[in-house]
């Protein structure tokens, strides 16, 4: 599938809010960034410097697998920067659109815009909290514990996830931060 055709199809799918149609991609085709904080590296290694960090829904042009490190793939990122991305950071399927309500009305947005809209920030909703606190029995206790749980969950950052992944020997998919570090060796 040619880049132009694929991009047009992808744009149409995004516009329609379709969950995505997985299909085979060949060298030169676009792929979707799948995971949060996807790092495009200078060389095919999780310890290399990051060229740019991408977010779900962004597209890269697939240039093929590295001949030696076959799980690392050469890509051209938006803006033309080239580098290497780990295999499972990329997908032929776009992420789902989210339906948000804001001053602009109700609209479907891609994951990046979803985060920017502020709608991604979750806490037990005011209506749910009122509902639980208004019921007899120990529902109010459940409300309090869920709020405490949510607050604690927010302390689990991408940095902690990336550290665990490294320790457990899993794939280096979710990067520790959402922008390239300013210092040398920043990942």
């Amino acid at each position: 599938m040619g880049m132009k055709t694929s991009a047009a199809l992808a744009a149409a799918m995004l516009a329609l809010g379709l969950p995505g149609m997985a299909g085979a991609a060949k060298v030169g085709d676009p792929l979707y960034v799948k995971a949060k904080n996807t790092r495009v590296m200078k060389s095919p290694s999780p310890t290399a410097d990051a060229v740019v960090i991408l977010q779900p829904g962004e597209q890269v042009k697939w240039e093929g697998a590295d001949p030696k490190q076959k799980q690392w793939h050469r890509v051209t990122a938006p803006g033309g920067k080239k580098g290497f991305v780990f295999q499972t950071n990329l997908s032929t399927t776009p992420p789902k659109m989210e339906l948000v309500t804001d001053p602009g009305g109700k609209r479907q947005v891609d994951p990046k815009k979803f985060v920017a809209s502020g709608a991604a920030v979750k806490a037990l909703s005011p209506g749910a909290e009122k509902y639980g606190n208004g019921k007899k029995g120990d529902y109010a206790k459940a409300v309090a514990s869920i709020k405490a749980m949510e607050a604690r969950s927010k302390t689990v950052t991408p940095e902690r996830i990336a550290a665990h992944v490294k320790e457990a020997g899993l794939f280096p998919v979710v990067g520790p931060r959402d922008s390239v570090a300013k210092t040398k060796g920043g990942r």
Binding site: A24, A25, K26, V27, D29, L31, K34, A35, K36, N37, P56, W62, Q71, Q87, T88, L90, S91, T92, K96, E98, L99, V100, T101, K106, P111, K112, F114, A119, A120, K122, L124, S125, G127, A128, E129, Y131, G132, K135, D138, K141, A142, V143, S145, I146, E150, R152, S153, K154, T155, V156, P158, I161, H164, V165, A168, G169, L170, F171, V173, V174
Partner: protein, 329 residues
Amino acid sequence: MDARLKVFAVLGLGVLASSCRGMDLNTIARGVTTAGGVAETVGGGVAKVKECGKLDVEPSVAEEYALGGALTIHFVQRGNGLMFATEGDKKLHDYLNIVGKNLAAQSLRPTLEWTFGVLNDTEQFNALSAPGGYVLVTRRLLMELDNEGQLAGVLAHEIAHGVLKHAIHKYTAQKVKTCRLVAGGETLLSALGAKALLAALDGDGTLDLDNEPELLAHLAEKTVNSFDDGNGPELEFEADQMAARLMLSAGYDPKDYLGLIDKMTDVKNQKNHPKKETRKKKLVAYLETLKGDEGEFPEYASEGLRSPPLKQPDYAVIKSTTGVAKDTP
């Protein structure tokens, strides 16, 4: 995991009392007088009944959060509360969230704010998810796991239900059903509640549940009740497949997922739920289909997959618990 499995029956989700029952026609009549407009919609019920399919739409994220929060309150209340009291409990909670959020960040809803918690239920081998990214697992289930791959499998399965919006589809079905009943003259809601529901027919079909407490209560409880029979086989297979893909993406060996299915007990009181042997066969066959062709982008990893141990000492708080018997196979 096989979540909806027993939990819903044993936790008693089938006996929720609707807080909105007991209203009579007089209530509606009073509402008609005071609320205005409702008389017209209820009076023109036949036309409205036909329009109720308009409510079968994807909810907004805000609507999803409200529904998911209300369902999670029920799950926590009936699951003996959250295991979240001691410092050890909180370390376990963090570990669960690290594993879960890593998987969720690679899902088709990567930017939803996912929250993972442990129910203090030592009886049921179960996990469940609610809209808005809530995932809960029972303490009993965690006691049975052998490695992090199996834990990832449980969480990935529930993330898949959330991504695929299986609970939301039950909710929208209840929305449409309630609309038809209300438009047809049933006294399920107060006049104001009925008006708010039917007003959605003139909009985009979504509801502002945070500002409509009666609708939130009614629809959340109806949705919880609709889980009693578990998900149908196709929905479970769909979640199994997505879970396996998530595991492959993160670097877990999907064989651990098969080992997890082995630990489940087929539940006789959930007529819809598929048998574990069927699930395993289907999953093995599905994994074979993920092998790509030469020259195509290899979306699914086949090398470097791991089966890490459960992280210690964070997991010790689970394993230290004793005195809970295994299910009879």
